[in-house]
């Protein structure tokens, strides 16, 4: 096919005006780099946010008594899982499940003697929960729940609690302070314990940090007078396996006739979902602007090339080349500019992304969060394909009109062109 015979010519024509081609290639490469860095930054933010909420609150999968997600908010103690240990051991035997931890979430009053505030208490199994908070394989982040002062709860902790940093500030409580926690038992009577502040934490959720405490499940069971739990939180070996494991838990639950509902983290992470949707829209707008810059840059280059090569185009057509051939020659040039510029951009983008990831970009607390963090650049294969595809597509599309114009030249006029 004649088309491919033009390939060397197209390459040499790109090299013909080196300064102009270099500027064009640089524009495309900068476009691709910008897209990779912006996209990689968003991806990194998503990843950190996702791992942060998974390793602080949500785990990968949560199991509740059937009906909890619909009615549990109003009547939390009506939807408790009795004899949770039996379920835990069966679920932990499933492949890719790292651990299962039990929780109860309840409202309580917390008093320093001078101040009394309403709090959201999260009853947890300290040992397992400590494992859940560990984030692996993420640069500049190792835990979903940072202990700012004091220590984390341990298996030996009893009548000890952790306070969210906003809450500690608002009631002016410090590590070692003695507080009173007061709540209704599941039977409806009042019960209160003296507890000691063991540590102060910061999670990705400012709302929880302003109103939340963590209390050992054993203590909470005594306080609430129940051995049942509200949820089983499942941690997996990898986030990407969430749907697979959720399906196997559902299968297990139905074969064992457990009356439970199984929710995966994306269904519980409403805020995360909204942030992702918003950022993705922003990214699309950004990509469009970058594509437009690439289009204009190539359009200009091709138009200049055609003006300069008018007589050459006339000659090519005079000696027997068809108009379609001229179109092909210039489209190939546009395509190669896109391919070369795109490749350059991928190399620059990945290099720069790596440097930025290693050094870390200092960031203020994210929306809804309270901890400063370091962002990186997470360049996924999909992002690489998107950036490269944008370069190739934008440069080819922007060559269509100039190439068409070249192919429509009147031969005799083009030959007379000086």
């Amino acid at each position: 096919m004649t088309f491919w015979r033009f390939v060397p010519l197209a390459f040499r024509n790109i090299r013909r005006n080196r300064v102009r081609s270099s500027i064009t290639l640089a524009a495309i490469a900068v476009g691709a780099t910008a897209l990779l860095l912006a996209g990689g930054f968003f991806q990194d933010t998503f990843l950190r946010m996702r791992e942060g909420i998974i390793h602080s609150h949500l785990g990968h999968v949560q199991i509740f008594k059937k009906g909890y997600s619909q009615y549990g908010a109003a009547h939390p103690f009506d939807y408790l899982i009795q004899n949770p240990a039996a379920l835990v051991s069966r679920i932990e035997n499933l492949p890719n499940v790292e651990l299962v931890t039990q929780r109860i979430l309840f409202s309580a009053l917390l008093s320093t003697g001078e101040n009394t505030v309403a709090v959201t208490a999260q009853a947890i199994q300290p040992g397992r929960e400590a494992q859940l908070t560990v984030i692996r394989n993420l640069r500049h982040a190792d835990t979903g729940l940072a202990i700012l002062h004091g220590e984390n709860l341990s298996e030996e902790s009893s009548f000890e609690i952790l306070l969210g940093q906003g809450l500690a500030r608002s009631i002016d409580a410090k590590v070692g302070d003695e507080l009173v926690i007061l709540t209704n038992t599941i039977g409806g009577s009042l019960n209160a314990f003296d507890v000691t502040v063991k540590g102060i934490f910061a999670s990705p959720s400012k709302e929880f940090d302003d109103h939340g405490i963590r209390i050992p499940l054993e203590t909470a069971s005594k306080l609430l007078r129940t051995d049942a739990v509200q949820s089983l939180v499942v941690l997996l070996t990898e986030t990407d396996l969430t749907e697979t494991v959720r399906a196997s838990i559902e299968q297990l639950a139905s074969s064992e006739n457990w009356e439970v509902e199984v929710l995966a983290w994306p269904e519980l992470a409403d805020f995360y979902n909204r942030v992702v949707a918003l950022y993705q829209r922003q990214f699309a707008v950004l990509a469009l602007i970058i594509a437009l810059i690439v289009v204009l840059s190539i359009f200009n280059t091709m138009n200049m090339a055609i003006s300069e090569r008018t007589r050459e185009i006339g000659t090519i057509m005079a000696i027997g080349y068809r108009r379609r051939d001229v179109l092909s020659i210039f489209l190939l040039e546009g395509l190669f500019l896109g391919l070369l510029g795109g490749l350059l951009g991928l190399v620059f983008g990945q290099g720069l992304g790596f440097v930025l990831s290693v050094s870390g970009i200092p960031m203020p607390p994210p929306p809804g969060g309270s901890v400063e963090w370091k962002a990186g650049i997470e360049i996924t294969r999909q992002l690489l394909l998107q950036a490269f595809g944008m370069c190739v597509l934008a440069s080819t599309l922007s060559s269509i009109y100039p190439a068409w114009r070249a192919s429509r030249l009147v031969i005799a006029d083009a030959l007379r062109h000086t």
Partner: protein, 228 residues
């Protein structure tokens, strides 16, 4: 049958709102094997006549029969194929592709033909050798002298083995001696290969090398001289 038979060719251009009669009822016959010059001052219609004979421009009136076939009936693509296979072009300004080497320039028309890479290269090399530039095959046009460039252009015009080569003022950008050498080469190729050469010129010495001279003035043939 003559190779080309042009019948009452007229060409009218619009220059702004003014009509310019570039050719006016020109009748011309080109026989096989001819070596012919079209003479005339600037603006006499030489280039227009060559363009029409070369099927890159259409006459406003009249027709061109190529081997008895009316080329007016051919579509744009068919005309391109026709030029590729039957007509070679040589231009005043050589019009080589600057990014290609001499041999690649010569090979360029062959890219459109169903030939293997080896055949293309062999034919291009032979064509270059026939114009005496076998040793400069890998030079770019800007590394060649004006005379050498025009020889490359002649090789490019001949490589497709056309019936006719049309040369528009092929010596105008060359010094006198080089111009005559180029003409001698064309004349020699005409004798050896039998390819028809029609070239335009206003240089009397160049004209004198032609075996037939058509003189154009204001788009009309005013004189025809044949060297016996």
């Amino acid at each position: 049958m003559p190779l080309i038979e042009a019948r009452s060719l007229s060409k009218i251009y619009m220059l702004g709102k003014t009509e310019v009669h570039a050719l006016n009822a020109v009748n011309l016959t080109v026989e096989k094997g001819e070596f012919m010059a079209i003479a005339g001052p600037s603006g006499s219609g030489k280039t227009t006549l060559l363009n029409i004979l070369g099927c890159i421009e259409k006459p406003t009136e009249g027709s061109v029969l190529f081997d008895g076939k009316n080329v007016a009936q051919l579509s744009g693509n068919q005309l391109a194929d026709f030029r590729l296979n039957h007509i070679g072009f040589i231009f005043q300004t050589f019009n080589l592709i600057p990014v290609l080497t001499a041999i690649e320039n010569v090979e360029f028309p062959l890219l459109k033909m169903p030939l293997s890479k080896r055949e293309r290269r062999t034919r291009a090399q032979e064509a270059l050798e026939s114009v005496g530039l076998g040793g400069l095959a890998h030079r770019k046009p800007d590394e060649l002298s004006g005379g050498q460039r025009q020889r490359v252009a002649i090789a490019r015009a001949l490589v497709g083995r056309p019936n006719i080569v049309l040369a528009d003022e092929p010596t105008a950008n060359l010094d006198h001696a080089t111009g005559l050498a180029v003409l001698e080469l064309m004349s020699d190729l005409n004798s050896r290969l039998g390819t028809v050469f029609v070239f335009s010129t206003h240089d009397p010495k160049v004209m004198s090398m032609a075996r037939r001279v058509i003189s154009l003035v204001d788009g009309k043939i005013v004189e025809e001289t044949t060297v016996p």
